[in-house]
Symmetry: C2
Subunit: 299 residues, 2 copies
């Protein structure tokens, strides 16, 4: 069985044909830069995949998208794609695959689902897994009792918008002190620059942290503390077995993961929290595509 997986990001679209054992048969990627009609980019990226694996062979489509989105209505309004507001992406792909299921979830949810399906070394049938994407924002998704948990309106997993600091700075979501205001790439860069760092972006900040520049290291430890609070909060509520971290900021590696694991270990109170394993993604950028495929593949 083969399905179409589509990943709608803020700067590019990706698509793949995925087998039911997780094998990626064909893939394509199209940058959005300079495009005024993103739906043309969507048709192009899907067309490249169906050029290799005919649409007639695809038994459904799973879509992971940057938010906000409305999985019930099947529409997306990605913050970084102003031309799409309530764009009916499920309907658009449904026209290409008539009569076959098309499902939509958030990019963080798809990443979590992909890591759970293909990234973990062993499958835990009753596992409780949180996947986190630490990048331009902080997103996430949940697998509970061995099933993707998307929530009644499809919005579960918004770990970037839980409170890490009630007295913290305002968040674009309308609340204050959200994890995202402390641990997203842009918020780390903003904080470092306000404290004397002169670099440009999160990648440079990670390099400086690795090279021992104090303020850069502090920016990562501050983000790690916020992420640890979020992880322990989710674990106290959900009795998690495992947290998998991906995304551009997480790609920094030990400068994030070391202080993060230390903060989780230091602040874990209740006994059952201490069995939690926090690991970096095993799938990298494929996690989102595999998770999107998993939305429509039998498990």
């Amino acid at each position: 069985m083969t399905v179409l997986a589509v990943d709608i990001g803020g700067t590019k679209f990706a698509a793949a044909a995925v087998e039911d054992d997780g094998t990626i048969m064909a893939r394509a990627e199209v940058p959005l830069k300079g495009r005024t009609r993103p739906e043309e980019a969507l048709l192009e990226v899907v067309g490249r995949v169906t050029g290799e694996v005919p649409a007639a062979r695809l038994e459904g489509a799973g879509i992971g998208s940057a938010g906000p989105l409305d999985p019930v209505a099947g529409t997306v309004s990605p913050v970084n794609i102003p031309a799409w507001r309530d764009f009916p992406v499920v309907e658009a792909l449904g026209r290409l695959l008539p009569g076959r299921p098309v499902r939509l979830a958030g990019d963080g949810q798809c990443m979590a689902l992909g890591e759970w399906w293909r990234g973990l070394p062993e499958r835990e049938p009753s596992g409780a897994v949180l996947g986190m994407v630490v990048s331009t924002g902080v997103g996430g998704g949940l697998v509970l009792a061995g099933e993707p948990y998307l929530g009644p309106t499809g919005n579960a997993g918004h770990i970037g918008h839980i409170t890490a600091d009630p007295d913290g700075e305002p968040c674009p979501c309308g609340a204050a002190g959200c994890v995202e205001t402390l641990a997203s790439g842009p918020s780390m860069v903003r904080w470092a620059r306000a404290n004397g760092w002169t670099g440009e972006d999160a990648r440079a900040l990670a390099l400086d942290a690795g090279a021992g520049v104090a303020v850069a290291g502090l920016a990562f430890r501050r983000a790690a503390d916020a992420l640890a609070t979020a992880i322990l909060t989710a674990s106290a509520l959900l009795d998690l077995d495992r947290v998998v971290i991906g995304g551009g900021v997480a790609a920094a590696g030990p400068v994030l993961m070391d202080p993060l694991r230390q903060a989780v270990a230091r602040n874990a109170g209740l006994g059952f929290l201490r069995r939690l394993r926090v690991t970096a993604t095993g799938l990298g950028r494929d996690a989102g595509l595999l998770g999107a495929a998993a939305l429509v593949l039998p498990r």
Copy 2:
């Protein structure tokens, strides 16, 4: 079909025979004060129920217990019952009902399950419900996708031990600034007394708050803020439909519920959080017994 429900509290044991429509056929309660052998109290409270509904008619038993507990091993170690450490309560009741299922969950989990099963005005098949017990501690439980969610080790729902204030006071659990350090009855009383209040307990504090004593009202607003943070955190993660609040402190009524609803409305950022309904328990003290019964009743 009739099952036995048992509620193991820190100061009393309760038991009931419960029908599969939620009708309570017989009930008993035994205080623990002055007892050195709590298992005798357990046999006594169950014996009073089986005196009215014979044990042969009971098709299983559900137990809700104060924590900590180990639902996998079937043992309980309630903080306020020092004579019980790893007491094998599932085995003890299994001897009374040989060959029939005996299940154990936390008291907060049972309260949530009872409210979901019998307390809500309408059943929401795919509902996501958080039940909270605000009392000597702050506990809770979850119903997700229309099923009780207890977690891989049975410890889901520990909402009293999520962080409300990272710079807050130490919590007996080992972490700092847990919701329980701000919103449990004893923590509210401690804070009020440190700020000039001279009353004795949470009940007196609620009366004073209702009578307009400023420091008492502030103690409730402070607790309400912490509970609102916890509720919005759980909702961002789990896309909750509803939160039901019970327990001794919640029985104070509007002095807690009014500032709590206001804080939830004020701090709800993301759009999907705004549909959340926060209500006081509809079942009162029966919620725990009904939820314990629901652990073994077909749903």
